[in-house]
Amino acid sequence: MNLTACLSLSAILFSFGIFGLMTRRKIIAMLLAIELMLNAALINCVAFAYYAPAGADTDVGSILPIFIVAITSAEMAVALAVIVAMYRKRKVIDIERLEDLHD
């Protein structure tokens, strides 16, 4: 176990997230992939804090995840509300059919 291994782990997880993001058509599934990517970021934060050189502010390794999780929660709340509302309204969950952005 070392920093490189941790970072490689997070990189692979992140690329899984990207893969999921690109291949999923349901919005919730895409959100799920985003969660994976955020998770990868968290791993990075913690790993850097753990392998920090002497004199570095390692508290940040704990505080930054707090913010990340908080922001994620906020984002999830809004996103899921939007998804539910949209589903109720349009009965569509396929992202490929939600093309209204281009107009």
Partner: protein
């Protein structure tokens, strides 16, 4: 009188402006006013001529440059000015032009009496006269070019006078464009002369050239002044230089200038406008063919004779052009049926005489020059007379076709008589008529200066001239009438028309006699030159041969056309005859070149190039923009995945270029 010579120029102009602005609705007043102005100008010109002939000092500097107005400055040393250069040849032309214009104006009263737009005719005719007068008194090349162009404009308006007739309009356009084509060369020549030889003044150019030529022979050192020094220096610098395409600069400049005269004087192959110009009213034809326009080219060549003579080749070009035209036009004239076209080709042929006569002269043997000017003088009167009589005939029988005439001598007695005189003059019937003397002089000059070929062509053309003029005359006046009898009943001789013709008959006869008394044309154009040498009469066989040709030609014509009635029912199918009567298909060649080559193969591709290539590139640059935009727009299709992918690519690129690696 000399000081007020500008009045001669001004009077026809007043006639033009006054007529066109105030009198165009009153033809009678306009006619009277024009005749008044032109008559006054004629009187002044005659006084000037008499004063000149009677003065002791008939040399070059006596009359030159009586007045001048600086028009505009081009460089510090080159100023375009308008002025008058009065010397024997310009005075001679002034007399010829004003006399003929006055008579033609008078004639036009009769000719245009039933024409609604006669009020426009007289002012325009006066403008034509004004332009030609300005041309002949020009002291500089640029002034000559200016009036040269005005002659073109006025001929355009007069040839196309009946503007509702498409053929007239086409003829006027043709005349203008062909002469304009030649003028482009003329202008280039003038510019070369102005910029490379430093002068546009005739005196300066001719003095410089004369001095240069005598430096080359035995007689050096003249006192030159002003622009002549520059010309002389430039000529000396040119000496021996190979120039461009083997011709030195002077030859280029002079040949280019000569091309201007080539077009205006309708030398082969730029002659095609002249027969078509017959679409204009007959008085216009008569004035174009006798005193104005076509002699402008001859006059230009004569004006610049010394410098042409100095240049290599130029005079050879002049001679060659003239001889070809003389022969060519005479051959065509034998086959034509249109009364005015026969006369037009005869003019071409006579112009050819004048031109090659200039070409056979040189600075030592000046007889050709004298003869040419002499022929200009005599030809003006009898050619004018021929046209006026042709106009009267057309007016009487309402046809241009000599096939529909015949036997008119009974009805038009006066016309018959004066036409006979004119035909004798142009055919060169000996001793009594002016044309004989001048033509004789030309052939003699050519032979004695060693241009035997031209002299023989001259003799041959003399015979042809006699033949086709005889044919013309006998077909019109002898035999039986072949046209619509209805017209013949009303045929009569209008007194306004007959009167000038009778007057013109006088110079037709006597104009040849100055030759016998000696004249001073030449020594005035070439300053301080040797006195004119009369042709040596060693070749005394020429005169009998010329007489024999003339008489023979008339005799053949009489035998073929005069003695018995002629049938025109079956046009000859002989291929040579057809070729000749179609004027060697030169017009067709022109149409081919202009329509097929220039319009279709030059202008049309250029338009296509403009529409599709130049404009196409501009448009396609816009289209490329639009295409790029469409592609980029296509990515913005609302598909979240596409946005995401692009975003990731963008982030990756940012990381790549952002210094991370």
């Amino acid at each position: 009188m000399i000081e007020s010579s500008w009045m001669i120029l001004l009077l026809p102009f007043i006639s033009f402006i006054g007529g066109i602005l105030f009198l165009h609705k009153q033809p009678k007043l306009a006619a009277g006013f024009s005749i008044l102005c032109n008559g006054a100008a004629m009187v002044m010109a005659l006084i000037l001529a008499v004063g000149f002939l009677s003065s002791d000092d008939t040399g070059y500097h006596a009359l030159a440059h009586t007045w001048s107005y600086d028009w505009f400055a081009i460089t510090d040393t080159l100023t375009v000015s308008i002025g008058a250069l009065l010397d024997p040849i310009s005075i001679m032309m002034l007399v010829v032009i004003t006399v003929i214009s006055t008579l033609v104006h008078t004639y036009s009263i009769g000719y245009m009496e039933n024409d609604a737009s006669a009020g426009r005719f007289f002012p325009l005719l006066s403008f034509f006269v004004f332009s030609m007068l300005g041309l002949v008194i020009a002291p500089t090349l640029v002034q000559m070019f200016v009036f040269w162009e005005l002659v073109g404009v006025s001929s355009y308006m007069l040839i196309g006078f009946w503007y509702h007739k498409p053929s007239a309009v086409a003829a006027s356009k043709k005349a203008f464009i062909i002469t304009r084509f030649a003028d482009a060369f003329f202008l280039t020549g003038i510019i070369l002369m102005a910029t490379q030889f430093g002068s546009i003044g005739f005196d300066a150019i001719n003095q410089g050239a004369t001095a240069f030529s005598s430096m080359n022979t035995a007689n050096p050192s003249f006192s030159l002044e002003g622009g002549a020094v520059q010309v002389f220096t430039a000529l000396a610098a040119q000496e021996g230089s190979a120039g461009f395409l083997g011709l030195n600069l002077l030859s280029w400049a002079t040949i280019l200038i000569f091309i201007g005269g080539w077009g205006k004087s309708a030398m082969f192959p730029l002659h095609v406008w002249l027969p078509d110009a017959m679409e204009g009213p007959t008085p216009v034809s008569s004035i174009i063919h006798s005193a104005t326009m076509v002699v402008a080219g001859i006059y230009l060549t004569a004006r610049l004779f010394p410098v042409f003579a100095v240049a290599e080749y130029t005079l050879s070009v002049v001679e060659f052009t003239g001889a070809i035209t003389a022969l060519f036009a005479a051959i065509i004239a034998c086959t034509q049926r249109d009364i005015k076209r026969i006369l037009a080709f005869s003019t071409l042929s006579q112009l050819g005489y004048m031109m090659f006569s200039l070409g056979v002269a040189d600075m030592e043997h000046t007889a050709g020059f004298t003869a040419s000017m002499f022929h200009v003088f005599t030809h003006a009167f009898f050619k004018c007379l021929l046209f006026l009589s042709a106009g009267l005939i057309i007016h009487s029988v309402h046809s241009n076709d000599i096939a529909l005439m015949g036997g008119l001598r009974k009805k038009l007695k006066g016309t018959y008589f004066v036409t006979l005189l004119a035909v004798c003059a142009i055919a060169g019937v000996p001793f009594l008529f002016s044309g004989f003397w001048s033509k004789e002089e030309i052939i003699m000059a050519a032979w004695s200066n060693g241009h035997q070929c031209s002299a023989i062509i001259g003799l041959l053309v003399g015979g042809l001239t006699a033949f086709y003029m005889g044919r013309y005359f006998f077909l019109i006046f002898h035999g039986e009438y072949r046209g619509d009898a209805h017209h013949l009943e009303h045929a009569h001789e209008n007194k306004f028309m007959l009167f000038p013709m009778v007057l013109l008959a006088i110079p037709t006869i006597i104009a040849g006699y100055p030759m016998l008394t000696g004249h001073t044309f030449f020594n005035t154009v070439i300053p301080q030159a040797t006195l004119p040498t009369h042709p040596d009469h060693s070749a005394s066989w020429i005169m009998p041969v010329a007489i024999a040709m003339a008489i023979g030609g008339l005799l053949v014509a009489w035998l073929k056309y005069g003695r018995r009635a002629v049938s025109f029912d079956t046009p000859s199918t002989n291929i040579v005859y057809r070729c000749i009567s179609n004027k060697f298909y030169i017009d067709e060649c022109y149409i081919f070149v202009t329509k097929k080559i220039i319009f279709r193969c030059v202008a049309a591709p250029m338009k296509l190039c403009d529409d599709y290539i130049v404009d196409g590139i501009i448009h396609s640059s816009a289209a490329i923009m639009r295409g790029c935009a469409a592609v980029i727009r296509h990515w913005q299709n609302g598909q979240t995945h596409v946005y995401l992918g692009l975003m990731i690519i963008g982030l990756a690129l940012l990381a790549w270029f952002g210094g991370a690696l």
